[in-house]
Every structure is written in structure tokens, then in C-alpha cells.
Amino acid sequence: MKIGKQTIKLENSPCIFATSSIVGPKEMQGPLAQYFDANIKDVFFDEKTFEKAESKMLESCINNLLVKAGITQQDVDVIFSGDLLNQCISSCFAIRSFDVPFLGLYGACSTFCEGLILSSLLIESKAVKQVVASASSHFCSAERQFRMPLEHGNQKSPTAQATVTASGAALVTDKSVADNGIHITHVTPGKIIDLGVKDMSNMGAAMAPAAFSTISNHLTDTGRTIDYYDYIITGDLGIHGSDMLNELFKNEGIDISQKHKDCGVLIYDEENQDVNSGGSGCGCIASVFSSFWFNELKAKNVNRILLIATGALMSPISSSQGESIPGIAHAVAIEREV
């Protein structure tokens, strides 16, 4: 049921029953290494190209999800998946081997929450029972599509972010089928917000206003305050983007710095990993939520989170044509039954 301007309250509160994550070598050197289910030792993952490696990573991530949830492909009604590559090839080729209906998504780095929103709405409607929401990104395949060839020697701006090599997947279920007490209670799809940022090396700042808009609309619609949640978790604003989000809230007289965490900041060690402003990419929030945060929810260390995946909706073509970078952010309220 829609409440307020943008938020939908889910009366049947679908359950996030299981999650699965897989990351690359650099992510395994980061502080969250112990939480990931699987990792690839080499960025090629025994494949000939980075694109094939990314597909294989996503495929194995979803397969692992089914194993963890103790179900088979036949039990899954739909898979939602998306990535950063043109025509979403990572997802298409990953899910080619599955005997399950597939709905492809593109929301740049906001894809994972877009998938969670659509999955939970589909289940809320009673149409289906079990849906997979997944997303992936790969540093090397993204780099060659959006930036420079890998072996080109250049300096990165301090506000630039490194695309995370990772996939994450979540199984969303109707409570009647499987329930572990972790529920999606509200979803807030975001509006496109563009404050005219054009710097391709500063996606964090381009996306922060969208995150602000979605979070503030979510709070207004639900009548909640920041204090209701244990954490407000954004996808990949990075260090600089997080700073900008804090500033935008400060302008409204709200201090979110104690509640706010960003997956792009969490996944790498800022001091020692040479990642400038942090991680980015669809796989960033997908893998960090599917490992660390889901773990925290299951361990009862955290009870209520607002998960906001942020995306920068540009392409190298729009950027070459002088367009600014439109931002988007989708929020999902995840609460554990106490």
C-alpha cells in the first residue's frame, strides 16, 4: 500500500531468507574478507575475458544462494538481475544456464535495491513465492567500458572510486514458504536527481543528492526519524560522497553521521588499498549487504536498517556529449522481528 509520496508499505512483509556473496582478490584483502561466502583468486576466474569472468562469478553466486537456502532452481519463480555492462551481458550470460524466468534490470549501482524492491512487490502481490534479486560488477570489465584500458598509466583523482569485483544475491520469500524473521517492511523507489555534477571522477558527489532525496522522503512518508533505524546504509557514495550526504542533511539540521554507513567505504582499507574515495559498482552493496549486514541481522546485532543503493545513470556517450550525471537511489527498510 502506498503511503505518502513515494513509499510502499508491505503488509505481508516478505522475508529475505538467504543471501550469497562472491568477491575478487582485492576485496579479499579488505576488512570484510571473513564475511564473504566465496572469492576468486584471479580476476580472470579461469575464463578468457573479464566479461566471461564476471558472468561466471554471478552464476556461481546464485548457485551458492540456492545451496545455502536449500532449494533448487525449480523452486525459484523469477530472477531479477543487473550489472554495469552494455545490454546487461554479465547477467544475461550468467542466467542463461538457469531454467528460471529472468527479468533483467539496469539501475547502474542502484540495481541491487531495485531488484529487492521488485522482488518484494511481486511477493507482496501474492503472484509468486520465491524470487532471487542479484547484481554484479567487475573492476576490469567496468574499467574498460567506462574509463581507460587497464594498462594505461594514469593518475586517479582523489574523489574517484574503484569498481568492486563482486556479486551478491538475495532470496526473497513469501513468509508462508520460508521465514527467518528478517523482513522487508517498506520500499521507497527513488526519483532521478541531478544537481549538474559532470565530473566522471566524482560519482559519489553526483549520487549524494539522490540518496538525500530518497532517505528524506522515506522518513517523511513513514513518519519515522533517523533514530528509528540502527543504521542508514548507502551503497557506494564513497568517502567523499558520504561527506556530501552528511552536509546535505546538516543543511536540514539533521546529523546522520553516527547512523550512516557506506558499503563503498566499508569494503576497502582506505589507508592501504589505493582506492582513493572507496568502492563502487552494483556488486558493492550487493556483496556487502549479502555478507556483512545480513550476518549482523541474523546475529541479532542489528535489528532495523534502511538500505539505500545509489546509482549514477550516465554512460561514456552521455558524458562525451557534455551531459551531467543524473543520480538515483532506491531504499529498502529491512527489519528483524524482535
Partner: protein
């Protein structure tokens, strides 16, 4: 002694040209492809204006090794060809003078691609 001066002026000239590029990158957010393009075009224009020749005489390889030196060779070759062959030299001079470098870059690039594999930093 002459030898040392020779290296010193190359180091200084090359270093300064690179520093100008670095300031442009940091201050204007120009991408490397744009910097390279800007420098080669500036090399051509400065040679045309007679400004690059004295720099090259002083800096030697310090002025010819940076990509602006590629522009210098292009235009110098054009002038030489115009003097030797007249009008047609406008079209043949530049590429003739730089043919070695371009051919080397293409061939080495092709050979490298046969053996090398990209990796992450």
C-alpha cells in the same frame, strides 16, 4: 663536462614540460588523451612560430622526447619537405619525418598484444 651539461639541460627541459602537463591535469581535470593532443598541437604551433627551435637547441632530448617534440618533428619535417619538393611537401613532410616512431608504435603495440595480458594494479 659538456656531456653533463647536455644531460642536465635535457633533464630540466623534459621535467618542466611534464610539470606543465601535471599542473594542467590537476587543475583542469583534462584527461590524458586531451593532454597528449594539446601538447602535440602546441608543439606544432610553437615550432611554426619559431619558439620551439631554441627550446630544442637548449634542451635537446628534453624537448624532443616529450610528445610536444612529436609536433616539433612533424612541422620541421614539413618545412624541410617544402624546401625540397615545394607544395607537395606540405602533405608529405610531417609524416615522413615521424614515420619511424609511428611504425614502431604500431608494430610494438601489435606484438605486445600477442603476448601480454591486462591485469589489475
Amino acid at each position: 663536462m659538456d656531456m653533463l651539461l647536455n644531460y642536465g639541460s635535457a633533464f630540466l627541459t623534459g621535467g618542466i614540460i611534464c610539470v606543465i602537463g601535471q599542473i594542467l591535469i590537476d587543475k583542469t581535470k583534462l584527461t590524458p588523451a586531451r593532454i597528449l593532443t594539446l601538447f602535440v598541437t602546441l608543439g606544432v604551433i610553437l615550432t611554426f612560430l619559431g619558439i620551439y627551435e631554441p627550446i630544442a637547441e637548449f634542451g635537446k632530448c628534453g624537448a624532443t622526447v616529450p610528445i610536444s617534440g612529436f609536433g616539433y618533428s612533424l612541422f620541421k619535417g614539413t618545412v624541410k619537405a617544402i624546401e625540397e619538393k615545394g607544395f607537395i611537401g606540405i602533405f608529405t613532410g610531417g609524416v615522413t619525418a615521424t614515420a619511424g616512431g609511428i611504425a614502431a608504435a604500431v608494430v610494438f603495440g601489435f606484438l605486445a598484444s600477442l603476448f601480454a595480458k591486462p591485469t589489475i594494479k
